[in-house]
Symmetry: D3
Subunit: 284 residues, 6 copies
Amino acid sequence: MEFVINNVETFLECDKPFKEAKIALFGAPFDSTTSYRPGTRFGSGAIRRESYGIESYSPYQDKDLIDAPVMDCGDLELCFGNTEMALKAIENQTTAIFQAGKLPFMLGGEHLVTLGAFRAAASAYPDINIIHLDAHADLRDEYLGVSWSHACVIRRCWEIIGDGKIWQFGIRSGDREEFAWGKEHVFTNRFNLEGIEETVRSLGDAPVYFTVDLDVLDPSIFPGTGTPEPGGVSFDALRQAVTYVCGHANVVSCDVNELSPHYDASGVSTMVACKLVREMLLAL
Amino acid sequence: MEFVINNVETFLECDKPFKEAKIALFGAPFDSTTSYRPGTRFGSGAIRRESYGIESYSPYQDKDLIDAPVMDCGDLELCFGNTEMALKAIENQTTAIFQAGKLPFMLGGEHLVTLGAFRAAASAYPDINIIHLDAHADLRDEYLGVSWSHACVIRRCWEIIGDGKIWQFGIRSGDREEFAWGKEHVFTNRFNLEGIEETVRSLGDAPVYFTVDLDVLDPSIFPGTGTPEPGGVSFDALRQAVTYVCGHANVVSCDVNELSPHYDASGVSTMVACKLVREMLLAL
Amino acid sequence: MEFVINNVETFLECDKPFKEAKIALFGAPFDSTTSYRPGTRFGSGAIRRESYGIESYSPYQDKDLIDAPVMDCGDLELCFGNTEMALKAIENQTTAIFQAGKLPFMLGGEHLVTLGAFRAAASAYPDINIIHLDAHADLRDEYLGVSWSHACVIRRCWEIIGDGKIWQFGIRSGDREEFAWGKEHVFTNRFNLEGIEETVRSLGDAPVYFTVDLDVLDPSIFPGTGTPEPGGVSFDALRQAVTYVCGHANVVSCDVNELSPHYDASGVSTMVACKLVREMLLAL
Amino acid sequence: MEFVINNVETFLECDKPFKEAKIALFGAPFDSTTSYRPGTRFGSGAIRRESYGIESYSPYQDKDLIDAPVMDCGDLELCFGNTEMALKAIENQTTAIFQAGKLPFMLGGEHLVTLGAFRAAASAYPDINIIHLDAHADLRDEYLGVSWSHACVIRRCWEIIGDGKIWQFGIRSGDREEFAWGKEHVFTNRFNLEGIEETVRSLGDAPVYFTVDLDVLDPSIFPGTGTPEPGGVSFDALRQAVTYVCGHANVVSCDVNELSPHYDASGVSTMVACKLVREMLLAL
Amino acid sequence: MEFVINNVETFLECDKPFKEAKIALFGAPFDSTTSYRPGTRFGSGAIRRESYGIESYSPYQDKDLIDAPVMDCGDLELCFGNTEMALKAIENQTTAIFQAGKLPFMLGGEHLVTLGAFRAAASAYPDINIIHLDAHADLRDEYLGVSWSHACVIRRCWEIIGDGKIWQFGIRSGDREEFAWGKEHVFTNRFNLEGIEETVRSLGDAPVYFTVDLDVLDPSIFPGTGTPEPGGVSFDALRQAVTYVCGHANVVSCDVNELSPHYDASGVSTMVACKLVREMLLAL
Amino acid sequence: MEFVINNVETFLECDKPFKEAKIALFGAPFDSTTSYRPGTRFGSGAIRRESYGIESYSPYQDKDLIDAPVMDCGDLELCFGNTEMALKAIENQTTAIFQAGKLPFMLGGEHLVTLGAFRAAASAYPDINIIHLDAHADLRDEYLGVSWSHACVIRRCWEIIGDGKIWQFGIRSGDREEFAWGKEHVFTNRFNLEGIEETVRSLGDAPVYFTVDLDVLDPSIFPGTGTPEPGGVSFDALRQAVTYVCGHANVVSCDVNELSPHYDASGVSTMVACKLVREMLLAL
């Protein structure tokens, strides 16, 4: 009789052995600085688990994850209540993946986790750029007295790479100061994703860190997030944008974050995240 | 040591003192005549409470509620099961706000609450017009034997001001008689908000009562309402329309109603309502 | 005193006596082969029950269900766990409706129920065509070793009528083999409903079985289904398409399926289904 | 071929013809005066619909609903927003059932519906007593200015029959005045159901109106109600009590009310209601 | 840098290597024959996933899963819609575990999965007994024409081992025939778990298949199941009973089933299941 | 006309002016260290808001909050992601309340907030004791590398006051080390609240900090918490215990915490918390 052992859980078909894999997926389940509704800590797990509900084949790209050289490393075990320890663990994992010659693909967690991965990426690629899709500018200097906050994450990244390296799309929320400060230091396209192809072309071969805050989507299709912002982009617009960036820019590291599945009663937000991750993996 | 007392709850930044305030916000938590799914009684409270989840600054209008001369008076205490008592309390509050020289901005509750506020407005401004955004015509003469019903509210208003003063947009549901009757007595634009700017221009300086039934929105973005009607307008279309009306018409009183938060599992409908109220307050 | 007996439950106004009725509505509550999230067994009951929440009058078509010659026969009692018995019961009911000279209109249930009704239809109309609206191709030869599966239903229908008779629209999910196989044997329009009017015109008077898997809709407006697929069509697009097919093709039998109300926390998906059924009944 | 018509919906096996039936079940879907969380209007429909999820046989009583002479008349169509019209319709239905020589068994709705049925019962049986199971005393003279309110319903009944005829059990909530007034005019057993058998014995053959507000149950087992009150009785305690009253008292009319299924995410409250109704019907 | 790979998912601390393990846990996610509310297919996954929310240490037994020789093999991949294929796969897995000299511990799934495991157990231990904890007798000969149904599972087991070998506890639901038939062929303790210790003692060293349908619990503490039956046993009563059986009987194979997590909004039912599985594993 | 301003939100009737008040209620909405399911940040707001759903009168104690000298200061504004800042703000508020000669009554938030208030209390009353009701021992030295964690809070308090001053009741979860350590340093009554009256008597007039983690309750009645632990105490048992402690011990400061309303679909957990706070306020 066959004794079935079936206890390895990965994102759909992302079970390639270490040697073959060119992309290393991992989860960063952390949400301690979330200010409105927490729960993105459950995001990476939900994406992995529910990915079996979609097909591995994409009719959009005519490609199949069965053929994709991806390994899913599972979730990091991060502590809650100590931000620096969590960021350091993320930075270490990202550095280790770079050292193994693979591309790190992180699933959040809240957006602050980007800072951990970006530190490693900026260390490996000093001339790195950021393409940032989000509803929120995330450019605050501090938030309620805290500087390591999801609302400040892109500002913290800016402190590492400086002016002219950050390209934001879809931004439709922030305080007055963020928008004013942003005008001086970063490129911001408000409300939609227009101009992203042009940006990719202008960046040429420059290394890109690509960070996707899923709340850039309209909450009609993506309600399951901490701070839903009506007036966002459609699934198809985002799908096309991420496919383009992953297919045409020199993406050296990327992340997808801010799915909060406990606010996703129907499960649709998780399916959206799964499909976008599939399209990104297939385009990379 | 500082003794923190922090128990006044208002819509985001709508805490200006009586003297400075030009707009008086108040809630009318009533839903006794709702025929399908009740619960709009929880609408005004949810809008006030969750408003801290949005920013006070609008990148659409480049204005901030911090600067807006608005006071939030909280919710009226209305009884359930006695419609006339509830309408009278609403009428009194609206009249008192007019007498104080301020603009009344009411948060429902079911749509019937409009009748209470409109009585006061029509008394103060006899030549008043109504701009009415809704999925439903609300023009029935009676509903299941009741004439004071959310399904009859605009008909009741018509009895006060007569033909040619009511301008409806977005209407996509009603019985055959309502649509037939409406053709003779009111202007109705079915299915969308087209023509609203033209209407505003044609009204010039005439006083306007502006009533927004949030179910004019498509239920994909606004599921949290008693009678969701697929096929509605988008958030951006409604945002632009309410901003235009509040910014260009002579709005003397207005209301936003029909949020039923217990049917809003994800909380998105409440966020939609908060953002629209913010945009209206900033445009007024 | 009047003794009220009010215990017949039908879809809104579909209570015409047998003799007058030209359309016979019935429910097929079955979901045993559903592979991801079950629960469509509750679909037909929810549609019937919640239909009182919409109006019987359609402002889109200016017609009223009050005048429509429809009887609702209620739900079949189907067993779970024995697929063939369930399909046979559906086939028998459909045949009986044909023999009574009426048009069968079935409410699912999972999509496999179509096979039961289609067997009866293909027997009555050997030259029948299928117009198939869906997110999924449903063209697998087998699924996890099972050939009678919701994922195989159109393939099973093809085995009855052969090449060139099946017209699919809205398809955006499937495995690589399904898409490849489909190219050889059926007409597939991917991602949207374009070309459906042309298809109807090309079919002329040929008999048509019209099957609508509601997951062809975008899950923003239709989350309540077993396998939601982001990137679908809008309510208005589907409403226009089903109205056109029912109004212009020679539809001899039809079905609407895959509503899973337990994943529809807000109730919006059920309202969407109710309105589409209303529009179809009015157009037939 | 057999043409299945299956559109009569009754409580489980309560489909006996008029002539045979000794008990007439009907629903009174009304909740306009509910002060906290509305939604009991959906109670009677949920009980009827979900009753197919329980067995018709009771191992507690070794009896089966298959043998019970009960007809289910369905729900009355009541208007919302006009209390008196609703109460009158309920009174008429109850009177008609008495005139047909049957026992009226009403499913609420909010507790105020009891007043309509009790008026008819007190008219038919002037020496009637009330056995009242509830968490709330419901003895207020008025509530927020309204005298026809769910919070006043037993007080209204008292006005009809006077002192010494009302026997309350399980009461654990009310204002100070209600408890004080109650001491003078009714028998109240606080917190549990002790003494109910003794009360039944003391009443002998006197006619009894038996009204069960399901919130007498602890909300651990019955969360789906408008005003849950922790500290209530267990399912088994209530099951035994209602079985005893229905089996040993001269119950001439009864009701079960205050199920609010939209606050019953798991569906357990509805199952509880179904089982209690089954036990009562079998004991009557 | 450390490259973290963390993608093996097991029940809490049940990650012992094959050689050391004496108990092999596996999931059987199947629910095709469920007649009321499906969804137990998600049960085993939820138990495994949420087990990290409890402690591995039991203060009840003063033992820790860290020390327990258990391996979790993950879930079988079962098809939906073909009952026999699913049962065969379960039987094979159970047999393979026996052949490896380990004790099979299965997590359902609906109760029918027991039949697959029991076939293997009865083959390995012809003189096997069944201790069966459940709300439902599960003794029907067929259900809606189907003999392989969750409502018939114990009857099917009886066909293998015959009279006097089945000991049921907690039974409180079934049809009249089941109870009558049961009296002749099995031992049934209705309503509670009394007598279970005595039964265990009387069985001595005889091999026991122990099957726990979690709906034996009262739905106040275990709402997340397909057919909740009010009037069940408490968590502590069941915890003590399963600890006693696992600790004192010669249990050679066991299962825990009928968790349906999509009806468990609060997550409590899943925690209950996790704790009971922990206690059973520690006592075995 | 009367201009209604009604925007102060307090716990039911806890609106006494500063001078009269002897108890100062405040909320501490913080949950950054929660390890399993976050969301207790919404606890204090929910308790305040839903308190209007209960009566101010307690039939258990025959007292009324209308007469109670309590002011509700509202919620502190705490940052997320910086534990020490949050604890300091709580400590400051508690100290300020002591300095004003009032008793601090804090509503959490996660259990770690107790540390902030307890620091202030231990400073004001160096010989203070702790009576601690909880499902969890909370005695870990660190948790995932973090020492300021909800799982360590009582250990941190012990570091301030030392052995023999902490009295735990209801504890039923923890790791092996916590239970072992606890035996040496604190009094722990496992599983229930027995002995609490005796403890109160033995403490005489010694000052007591009383901390109630609501998860001491069984999750059947209190599902809305981060880490539900089946096997807890009943509502009545806890109600009696807190009434006894507040009425007979020299309680100088207290807190109630760990309500997580987003996991409380039915709202029952919030009602439970409201009633317990009412009983405590009336007994103090």
